[in-house]
């Protein structure tokens, strides 16, 4: 934690808590000296060290005449032991460099010879077969290359955190938000002053200030040199991509850079990049449309299965470079006692442990007295990671502290206990916590968990939510709270299983996953037929997303009146209670395993710990998540204030946190429109809604009552070409789209402090996938038969997990039907005669994909066209089976029709079309 007054005299002050500064700090912490590590950012590793390739290089890219090559080789060799001591994520997976032409192969041979000279352990020159054997994901046109088994991958910020934490155990003082603005020498001591007035004294100073090493040198009156930033842009791919290679894949280097790579990360995701663009601006962390598409194209040349649809986020990092391209590590000629560690670009991460040794020796020769500590603790306890634990470890972790059962981040299975660990280790910003324990680092990018994380940080630290930041002052996430709602939160542990009194049942007929409208409706029908369902939900209350949809317009079809979301949910909650259906709230399903008799569902909760329920059937009712920025790749910077509309809805309506004052909404989906109105109703502004399509994607009533009513402009056929802002959003660039290309020459800027995304929903099938459930390419939901049974026998799906519905009434209707067919299945009424149902002209998809012969079927479809007056026609060959006139069709409104299966025979192929 930050230093106190009596601790402000140090032997060594290190300016810059990136990987170099942290490695030096850790190395020096073995000696009997007082050390301070200061950084201008809100957390350590928030500069160059947070956004780079995360590679331990193979020792063949650079000639030994460069200092950086010598330190790279020495540093790489030190990682295995550091890894044993500090336990950061690291894997020695090896590196392949792929050559596609004879010319490239010549360069490969050169790299190989350089590697041999550099003593790169086990380096090989490979032909086509060998390199494809080493890395089967490589493009088939590869003709050979280099293999360096010593290379590997690392999570760079986790490495920095581990170094700092271990050094802190050994007495290091870390001063965050400490930007050195003034330095002077009094006698033989340096005095360093920070922008906020704090000051420290030190005998020696290590200038490891990364991009700002030149400026720090100037502050000390030392030599002049210039650090130029070189920008690298990256894409991060979801863990479920099929393009994950086993090894780091490099192209053949060019004269300016090592090229764009395909990197498997230790966490299982895939990193693509970096680009290499020289810049002037040291704060420019924007991404650009052109570069982002180049990265994908370049990666696909190496690994063809790379797909842009797996991108979960894009970012850039700046590498500090000196004109000669080498590291500059030496004592200042002008100011004795000041050690420069400058120009630490690639391979600075690999070299860091060797840089620390080197600096230690420099300090020694400069007169710093270094006596080894008698008690140096070299090992760090392992960081808890629920995602990587087996069931025994999860259970014992929960036994120790029940917070280990409370899952906060769903995508990465991060528990409240892990977030507390991060906070205890000094990480109190959202980004700091994300880097430490991966909370909000997954595919939803925090849409579900950031509201929870804000609350937990507030509860654990006592800081008002309005002061919690993404990555330091200026990047606050909450502007204010609604009147009467406290910004300071104290911890309250809610009774979760009120009334039930017991844990999960050991056995039930059906485990219903998700307690929204779909799950409740299915469970009610299962129970009504005499079977036992169990509803499991991650939230504290039933109702799913309805809980935060406080506006009205629900239930018009089902109840013939306009209810608000919570009211609609309440009716179902009452039915669930009346039927005596057991509910496990605040409980996360970790996974579902198939058994001979059915399924084992593994549950984790604060109240019950790890529990396993056996069931004969599973009802998937997990709903959907929102497509986010990564999904549509909006270039620009990554300031606080960009979030999905649903996340904003939860913040405002459930927590009472107002995320900003002036919003631009991207996408005219219904949630975005509803949030436009909500912003106005809480006294905030909405500058515009930007829709890429020529027609709105939300329903007309919402366009009228959420936009027209408030005179909010709607730009159809426009795109946001960039998001601006350093710490917090300051605006967006908008341009009209012409033939699919943004016309930036006719573009304009809009000021705002918040960007809300309403660009579609994705069925949440993260539990279905590992169970082996086949998914539909159009709907992203399971492929189901006429019973709504998936490709896995006994597993059923309904609601938004199956396909995205526009009305909850349809979700409920479909799910009630699903509940009935589950009951039929449990009764072994299983003899099925079905015909295939496929989407024909003007139909995007139809669900289910099979209908029952001889019975009435209800099917759902989406038209691809908008027109007044249309006919939905169901045909077998030329014979019309069913035909229904529609007053009006449009893609945003789901169509439901009845299809009589009487005239059909088993195996028929039936097509549905819109005319």
């Amino acid at each position: 934690m930050d230093g106190e007054k009596h601790m402000d005299r140090y032997n060594v002050a290190i300016v810059g808590a990136g990987v170099s500064g942290a490695a030096v700090a850790r190395r020096l912490s073995a000696y009997d000296i007082r050390i301070a590590l200061v950084d201008r950012e809100a957390d350590v590793s928030f500069g160059t060290s947070k956004a780079n390739s995360g590679i331990i290089h193979g020792g063949f890219h650079h000639n030994l005449r460069y200092l950086k090559a010598q330190l790279e080789i020495q540093g790489a060799g030190m990682y295995p032991q550091l890894h044993r001591e500090l336990g950061f994520p690291y894997r020695r997976c090896g590196i392949v460099v792929a050559a596609f032409t004879n010319e490239e192969l010549i360069t490969a041979e050169h790299l190989y010879r350089q590697g041999v000279e550099n003593d790169s352990a086990g380096i090989e020159l490979c032909g086509a077969d060998r390199i494809r054997e080493l890395e089967p994901k490589l493009h088939q046109d590869v003709i050979g290359g280099v293999y360096a088994p010593a290379g590997g991958i690392i999570e760079p910020y986790r490495f920095v955190f581990a170094l700092v934490e271990n050094a802190e155990q050994n007495g290091l003082t870390v001063l965050r938000d400490f930007e050195v603005t003034d330095a002077s020498r009094a006698g033989d001591r340096f005095a360093l002053r920070a922008r906020d007035g704090r000051s420290i004294d030190a005998d020696f100073v290590v200038n490891a200030a990364g991009l700002y090493a030149d400026e720090v040198s100037g502050i000390f009156g030392a030599e002049e040199f210039a650090i130029s930033p070189r920008k690298g842009e990256y894409h991060l791919l979801d863990r479920r991509t099929v393009a994950c290679p086993q090894r780091v894949v490099f192209p053949i280097p060019t004269s300016v850079s090592k090229g764009m790579l395909v990197i498997p990360t230790v966490e299982g995701t895939v990193l693509l990049g970096p680009t290499a663009d020289p810049l002037d601006d040291k704060e420019d962390l924007t991404t650009s449309r052109d570069r982002l598409s180049e990265i994908v194209a370049s990666a696909q040349q190496l690994v063809p299965s790379v797909s842009a649809s797996d991108i979960i986020t894009s970012f850039s990092g700046l590498r500090p470079t000196l004109p000669d391209g080498d590291f500059m590590i030496r004592e200042s000629d002008v100011v004795p006692g000041l050690i420069h560690v400058a120009g630490i670009q690639s391979p600075g991460l690999t070299a860091a442990p060797a840089v620390a040794e080197y600096v230690k020796d420099l300090l020694k020769s400069a007169g710093c007295s270094l006596t080894e500590k008698t008690r140096f603790s070299s090992h760090l306890p392992a960081v808890r990671r629920t995602r990587l634990m087996d069931d025994t470890e999860i259970a014992s972790s929960w036994d120790e502290n029940h917070d280990a059962g409370s899952v906060v981040c769903r995508c990465e299975t991060v528990t409240r206990e892990e977030i507390r660990d991060a906070i205890a280790a000094g990480h109190t910003t959202i980004d700091g916590i994300k880097f430490y324990c991966r909370g909000s680092a997954g595919r939803c990018q925090g849409a579900f968990c950031i509201p929870r994380m804000l609350e937990i940080i507030a509860e654990e630290t006592g800081v008002p939510v309005t002061e919690i930041t993404k990555r330091g002052p200026g990047s606050e996430l909450v502007d204010r709270t609604l009147p009467g709602t406290p910004a300071v939160r104290s911890r309250r542990d809610h009774p979760l299983r009120a009334g039930a009194g017991a844990g999960a049942p050991r056995e039930t007929d059906v485990v219903v996953i998700g307690g929204g409208a779909a799950g409740m409706a299915a469970a009610i029908e299962v129970a009504a037929r005499g079977f036992d369902p169990l509803i499991v939900d991650r939230e504290r209350t039933l109702g799913g997303v309805l809980r935060q949809c406080v506006h009205n317009g629900f239930g018009i079809h089902e109840y013939d009146e306009e209810l608000t979301g919570p009211e609609y949910a309440e009716r179902y909650v009452a039915e669930v209670a009346e039927a005596g259906i057991p509910v496990l709230a605040d409980t996360t399903v970790l996974g579902i395993d198939r058994t001979d008799a059915g399924f084992h569902t593994r549950l984790l909760s604060r109240e019950g710990g790890l529990e396993i329920v056996h069931s004969r059937a599973i009802a998937l009712a997990m709903g959907s998540r929102e497509r986010n920025r990564g999904g549509i790749q909006i270039p620009g910077s990554r300031p606080a204030g960009v979030m999905t509309a649903g996340a904003a809805q939860r913040l405002i309506n459930v927590e009472g946190f107002v995320p900003g004052r002036r919003a631009v909404i991207i996408g005219s989906g219904d949630i975005g429109l509803i949030m436009a109105r909500r912003f106005k109703l809480i006294g905030a502004d909405v500058q515009a809604v930007i829709e890429i399509q020529p027609v709105p994607s939300g329903i007309t009533r919402n366009i009228v009552q959420c936009l027209d009513d408030f005179s909010i402009p709607l730009y159809l056929g426009h795109v946001v070409t960039a998001i601006h802002g350093g710490d917090r959003v300051t605006g967006v660039s908008v341009a009209p789209l012409e033939n699919g290309v943004p016309r930036t020459d006719r573009g304009f800027e809009i000021d705002c402090d918040t960007v809300l995304l309403s660009v579609g929903l994705i069925p949440e099938n993260e539990l279905s996938r590992p169970l082996g459930v086949e998914l539909h390419r159009q709907t992203n939901g399971p492929v189901v038969d006429s019973r709504l049974m998936t490709s896995v026998r006994g597993v059923f799906a309904s609601g938004n997990v199956l396909h995205i519905h526009d009305l909850v009434d349809f979700v409920a209707e479909e799910s009630r039907r699903c509940g009935r067919t589950i009951a039929d299945y449990l009764q072994d009424r299983d003899g099925l005669e079905e015909a295939d149902l496929v989407a024909g002209s003007n139909v995007r998809y139809v669900v289910p994909g099979r209908i029952r012969v001889g019975e009435e079927n209800r099917v759902y479809l989406r038209s691809m066209i908008a027109q007044v007056g249309a006919t939905v026609e169901v045909r077998r060959g030329e014979t019309v089976i069913a035909s229904e006139k529609q007053h009006h069709v449009q893609p945003s409104e789901m169509i439901t029709i009845a299809v009589d299966g009487a005239p059909l025979s088993p195996g028929d192929r039936v097509e549905v079309s819109v005319r």
């Binding site: 609604l482 709602t485 608000t564 979301g565 009211e567 009472g656 109703l681 009228v704 009513d709 005179s711």
Partner: protein, 134 residues
């Protein structure tokens, strides 16, 4: 919280374009108040469009939904709605009165939590139950 002198929701006086929302077709209507006081509506495909425009010019109303501060419950905000649609020019005062309320759990869904809000004669109704929590 909302400036009461501003027109939060637009009010139509003599002539305007509007989109009919009676059915999903969404006819673009043009409506103009004639000298005799009658409203001339064009662009409508059926007569419901005329009635819609007339209502929007004569006495536009909207249902109001939102949340109120609540203490002693498991959440800090309670979802609420107006018991009937509120005249659009009264909505800012209605909202401000809604935000000033500080409720205490337990509260039942459907419970009237404030009557004659901001002198509109319209009540505020809880749309979710919130149990009391220690």
């Amino acid at each position: 919280m909302i400036a009461e002198n501003q027109r939060l929701i637009r009010v139509r006086d003599t002539e305007d374009e509007l989109t009919c929302i009676v059915c999903p077709i969404g006819c673009r209507l043009h409506a103009e108040r004639k000298d005799g006081g009658s409203l001339e509506v064009t662009g409508n495909r059926c007569k419901r469009g005329v009635a819609y425009a007339e209502e929007e010019f004569r006495d536009p109303r909207r249902p109001v939904t939102g949340t109120c501060a609540v203490t002693g419950g498991e959440f800090f905000r309670l979802p609420v709605k107006s018991s009937e649609a509120v005249a659009v020019d009264r909505i800012p005062s209605f909202l401000n009165a809604m935000y000033e309320l500080e409720l205490t759990a337990p509260i039942q869904c459907g419970e009237v939590i404030a009557t004659d809000v901001a002198g509109t004669g319209i009540d505020l109704v809880a749309t979710m139950s919130m149990r009391k929590e220690e």
